[in-house]
């Protein structure tokens, strides 16, 4: 077990800089998820932690030991690769046993561990097959098995569930989380799937284009996004963003757009005439009736599509030329073309600088 500390980490491929002065602290035993769109440098960062990618500048520390120059084989980490990286000529059993064979663990312990991992991963029937005789999902589970039979200081996962079907993905998600709760091994988990990140992480680190945009607990980044990118990346359906201009009516500030008058939080740091981006998550776009608005606020749109998902209803509407989505737990029946009124919950309204995207 170890903490992982990263400071001022940079990565260049030739002249192209893919990671920019990253600082990241992963405390011992934490489950940290690196989240970001494809190509933002998650894998690169993970591979640098693993020792598979050279470090252009900066430091990687395990506990207080600088491991920049420690070979991957001596870092005592386990890793699940995005493309499995199985040993094609070895059976599933041998794939999982490989690290223990290298350490000359006795045969009985190896068998026990492999059986244990296979039962967790549902791989018992396949132990004597070769990787090419398995489906993508099964291969991915073998890669998982290879990692969990180890007793590493740090677990590294690079999108380990991306090739599984939806059902298995949810199941494995729980499995990994449970495993972490049991073993309490420091884990760094890469994904581009924000649901995975939200459900599994102790801490989420959101990356974009080689920068860390925000780090914090899932609820923190959900409730208090630092900027527009984080706000839009987290949450599904995504946060509604409406380009607005601040206006004063009867001494109260509103975010306005065409005929819209959207309510602002009480102490919002805005001034008359300021252009801003008004963000509100679908579940805070409470659909209601016209009269229910407070003061002069007016927010109405035209219903485009209604999607009942079972527990809730997603309503997509056009409001002052912008697409918005609202989620309601009431089983209200809207018809496309109908006018719909919203009451954005001012406790959950996010305001962003129109130029920089930074939260106000």
């Amino acid at each position: 077990m170890a903490s992982v500390n990263i400071s001022q980490l940079n990565k260049k491929y030739g002249a192209v800089r893919v990671l920019h002065d990253l600082d990241l602290q992963v405390a011992d035993g934490r489950f940290v998820v690196l989240l970001g769109p494809s190509g933002c440098g998650k894998s690169t960062l993970l591979r640098m932690i693993a020792g598979l990618e050279s470090i252009t500048s900066g430091d990687v520390l395990f506990d207080d030991t600088r491991v920049n120059d420690v070979h991957a084989k001596d870092r005592n980490i386990a890793m699940v690769f995005q493309n499995y990286a199985l040993y094609a000529h070895m059976s599933v059993r041998k794939n999982m046993a490989f690290s223990m064979r290298l350490k000359r663990v006795d045969k009985k312990t190896i068998d026990e561990k492999v059986t244990w991992a296979a039962s967790i991963l549902g791989l018992e029937p396949y132990l004597d097959r070769l990787p090419r005789e398995l489906s993508g999902g099964q291969r991915q589970r073998v890669a998982m098995g290879r990692a969990i039979v180890r007793d590493p200081d740090v677990f590294l996962f690079d999108e380990p569930l991306s090739n599984l079907d939806a059902k298995l993905r949810v199941q494995m998600r729980t499995e990994i989380k449970e495993l972490h709760q049991r073993l309490k091994t420091t884990t760094i988990y890469v994904t581009h799937d924000q649901i995975e990140a939200m459900t599994m992480a102790d801490d989420v680190v959101i990356m974009r284009d080689g920068y860390i945009e925000q780090a914090g607990s899932p609820m923190e980044v959900y409730d208090k996004p630092n900027n527009l990118f984080v706000a839009q990346f987290i949450g599904s359906p995504g946060m509604n963003i409406i380009e607005c201009q601040v206006a004063v009516k009867n001494g109260v500030y509103y975010a306005t757009r065409d005929e819209l008058f959207l309510p602002l939080p009480a102490q919002a740091p805005v001034e008359d005439g300021q252009a801003l981006l008004y963000g509100v998550r679908p579940e805070h776009m409470v659909p209601g009736v016209q009269s229910a608005g407070s003061g002069d606020s007016r927010a109405s749109g035209v219903v485009r599509v209604v999607e009942p998902t079972g527990p809730e209803v997603h309503v997509y509407a056009k409001m002052a030329g912008q697409d918005v989505c609202a989620i309601s737990r009431e089983r209200l029946a809207w018809e496309p073309g109908e006018t719909i009124y919203f009451q954005p919950d001012t406790n959950h309204v996010h305001l962003f600088n129109k130029e920089t995207g930074a939260a106000l």
Binding site: A72, K73, N76, A85, A88, F98, L102
Partner: protein, 297 residues
């Protein structure tokens, strides 16, 4: 379909495989099958060296061969030669290929230069080494003399115990690059990811080589061994040029012996018998090898 020349028989049209197979098949028949069958036919005759008459006696040559001690000597020389040369070429080839298997700058040039010995005709290689072994001015001999590893009284190719090694060195010089080429092609095609996984699993470079590289390369290694093995078994040119089977019969291989009988004694039936026997041994051994090691082409 409608444009098919209807007056042609069907087997002569481009839709039929026969016209396509014809050229190469006829070449094989003329230059492959016919000589073999002719040798077989020849081997059934007993030649009288005095009268130069041949008499049909099917088992004569074959029986003679079995009891001919020189044949068994030649078998031993051939096997020694083939196994030693093959082993050295395989190990050297793999080692050099491992060194050249890198994306670093300049190694592309090295990889290309590596193939140079392959374009030298074997007879020229033989001549070249003959000169380098020369006891008065040969660079190899003189280097060995000055290092005290060899005495001028025992010239490399003129001494029974070293002559075969002298020939093997020439073969190794010429054919190791071939091994390197095959091994490099194999190594370059290996996936990188398992190596990363192995180093995460705690494998050193040496362990990765034995646990990953060798097993993943086994098919290619088997193929290379097969190709070179067959070639080495038929060794003729280096022996002919460098030692002419000498001293005595110390470097006489099967093909060299057959050549001697053919050209010097003019006993064509017996020479054919030995050549055929060589062919049979190669065929049987290589088929077994293909079976056992599951070589795929």
């Amino acid at each position: 379909m409608s444009e098919r020349r209807v007056w042609l028989p069907r087997w002569l049209t481009s839709e039929h495989p026969l016209p396509w197979l014809f050229p190469v098949t006829s070449l094989l028949i003329v230059f492959g099958l016919y000589p073999v069958l002719f040798s077989l036919w020849l081997s059934f005759f007993k030649r009288n060296p005095a009268t130069r008459k041949e008499k049909f006696l099917p088992s004569w040559n074959w029986e003679k061969m079995i009891s001919d001690e020189r044949v068994w000597d030649a078998v031993q020389v051939t096997l020694t030669y083939a196994f030693i040369a093959l082993f050295i070429q395989l190990v050297l080839g793999l080692l050099i290929a491992l060194l050249l298997d890198t994306d670093r700058k300049g190694f592309g040039v090295l990889r290309a230069l590596m193939t140079l010995p392959l374009v030298v005709p074997p007879a020229v290689t033989g001549m070249m080494f003959l000169l380098m072994y020369d006891s008065s001015f040969g660079v190899i001999s003189n280097s060995l003399y000055s290092l005290g590893l060899l005495s001028p009284n025992t010239p490399i190719l003129g001494t029974a115990s070293t002559a075969l090694w002298g020939v093997i060195v020439a073969d190794v010089w010429q054919w190791t690059p071939f091994m390197v080429l095959i091994m490099l092609a194999g190594l370059r095609a290996l996936p990188k990811e398992p190596y990363e996984a192995a180093s995460i699993d705690g494998a050193s470079a040496i362990q990765s080589f034995f646990y990953l590289t060798l097993p993943m390369m086994s098919k290619i290694i088997a193929l290379a061994v097969l190709i070179r093995g067959i070639d080495l078994f038929r060794i003729f040119d280096y022996v002919k040029v460098m030692t002419d089977s000498g001293p005595g019969t110390a470097t006489e291989t099967l093909t060299a012996y057959a050549g001697t009988i053919y050209f010097k004694s003019a006993n064509f039936p017996y020479a054919s018998t030995i050549a055929l026997a060589t062919l049979i041994v190669v065929l049987v051994t290589s088929s077994l090898f293909i079976k056992i090691f599951k070589v795929k082409f």
